[in-house]
Symmetry: C2
Subunit: 377 residues, 2 copies
Amino acid sequence: MKRREAALRAVAHLVREKGRSALYDLTGLAGGFPLQSEDLELLETYAGPALFEEQLELWGKKHLSGDKILALNRTSSGILATILALVKPGDEVLHYLPKKPSHPSIYRSTELVGASYREIEGDEDLWIKPNTSLLVITGSTMDHKIISLTDFKMALQTARENKVPVLVDDASGARIRTIVYDQPRAIDLGADMVITSTDKLMEGPRGGLMAGRSVLMDKIKTKAYQYGLEAQPPLIAGMARALEYFRPGKLLKAIKRKDKVYQLLKKDFHRIEKTPTGVMLTPTALEEEFDKRNIKTKLSADENAILLAMILLRKYHILTIPAVGMPGASPTLRMDMAASDAGRLDEYEILNSLLGSMNLLKEWDGNQQIIKEFLFE
Amino acid sequence: MKRREAALRAVAHLVREKGRSALYDLTGLAGGFPLQSEDLELLETYAGPALFEEQLELWGKKHLSGDKILALNRTSSGILATILALVKPGDEVLHYLPKKPSHPSIYRSTELVGASYREIEGDEDLWIKPNTSLLVITGSTMDHKIISLTDFKMALQTARENKVPVLVDDASGARIRTIVYDQPRAIDLGADMVITSTDKLMEGPRGGLMAGRSVLMDKIKTKAYQYGLEAQPPLIAGMARALEYFRPGKLLKAIKRKDKVYQLLKKDFHRIEKTPTGVMLTPTALEEEFDKRNIKTKLSADENAILLAMILLRKYHILTIPAVGMPGASPTLRMDMAASDAGRLDEYEILNSLLGSMNLLKEWDGNQQIIKEFLFE
């Protein structure tokens, strides 16, 4: 806990003293909030929220298609609002996804309204029951496993034949499916509704952006406002700006950057692995790298990962999860190349930061005094 | 609709060209979002949200007391999360309030979990049933009718004797009860939980700030995260700053300012009325004022109110609801003296803006060409 607080202080100090550009946040978990100072001023008037809502309607439709846009506090909030609006007790919600496990929000909201829940994986047969009142299709899972276009079209066709409305949970899919895998947008394929997370593979705040047919969106909007699920004006402004600044090419570059970083780092760090949008070193992999270099710290594998993350932060201003993670969180060192700051680092800078950290650790030669000061100072 | 858009454009233009201080937003509906530029930069890092959460914990406890703070997307979201966490199907939620009508969010959330709902007004007897699992006490209604301290203490005592947890819905009450009526804070009186709206009688964003006993707050927090009800980092930052900048004296000044404005305006506008934190002229009242001054516009009473609001906006930069309201919204001209901009206007400036507008209307002598241009230009 003390180490986490020290890391948070180090980040805040760096940003306040040297500006945001001095920090390279590669956690991939930092939501964007690309507001301008004049946006802040306008937000504090009655007119601001209305104007940003118009902007979101405009940019949201460009991104997702659909007749009407609705901004939700989170993707989970949008799923809850949809199920509250369209599913009655005794109905069934059918969830079709490329691969289990599914995101729990769909099951939870279904259970709340007293409906039953069924899951079908991509390679299984899809059938609709008489009481199925909503089909949810997951476009891309949390691990970026995407639905095949054939399966997607088949599911939409089955739903249409049975007159069941379809919500596509395209949290990351609205970008990864369309930009990386060149699939059409969910609405363009015939889905009635789609929802995406504005912080996933784009630089917006955490939040849910929904689009779809007006008559359905109006029902969902009513439920969202009744239960407090809608996004508030500052979030709407952040989403609108993030969509305005969004460029598909940047995502493609991030994927390429990941491959480059992976290829280069592999030469010196054999156990490095790929993630959907970055690279990672597990504590076990790091332990091997330490042994190979004859680095001794007298710390556990997990603590070594945390120590390395703290060196990356203090010496190279590169922020990764182990430095700021809660006690008990995974100490795997991930570097997300889709993080907005990743574009300001090339693969050699990343390699040098890791090699430099290794050299420093070797110099310290397990000196507990130096290590402790470095972790908690 | 065209008039609303013209008004929104006028506000945006004014703020962008002459700065936020050129506008006097007296709608009382504009949420505050008092972030600094450096807050924006920090928000876009992993560390920002963690640091603002710490700040909110600090300032939230100063404002509400309690062991633990939780920030919700809205007060309604907090009520839903509480009921999801503490109320089971077949239980009863008892709502004790100074005066009906009650806010619908309590009933709605109760119905959603399959529990029964009962309301008791301040002067009625309060009794607990065996299946009552939550007592909600409304500290101050939407019309700022507050609960008496005797009733409040009696209700808390009854709940304690029956071991029923108490949530105080102190949306505006956390300030109006304590600052204007000098009552203790809900938690200090013995409530287990309290929730307040950070945009009511303080200059924060719309959102719910909750405080209470740790063991209960942990349960509520879990439900909030599961269903997407928690406040997102930008909102948390806005709340933390608003609480940091909050000064009780400003609210007391606003109430005094309301009385001064009312007294002065009454001399020229006999039909002016008081609201809890401001003054208002209904369309009917305005019609009398027009007649008295022999002003003819060939418009309906509602349209006259809208026209006056547009003059106040364009000529005096004073923003009121009729100028920017949706078609069908109440065209009553309200001026909220608790709005943050109200402190930059004295009662004579407000009087002069109204008298000046009246003179202009008289000059125009019902010229439809001028009026239309003024409304829609």
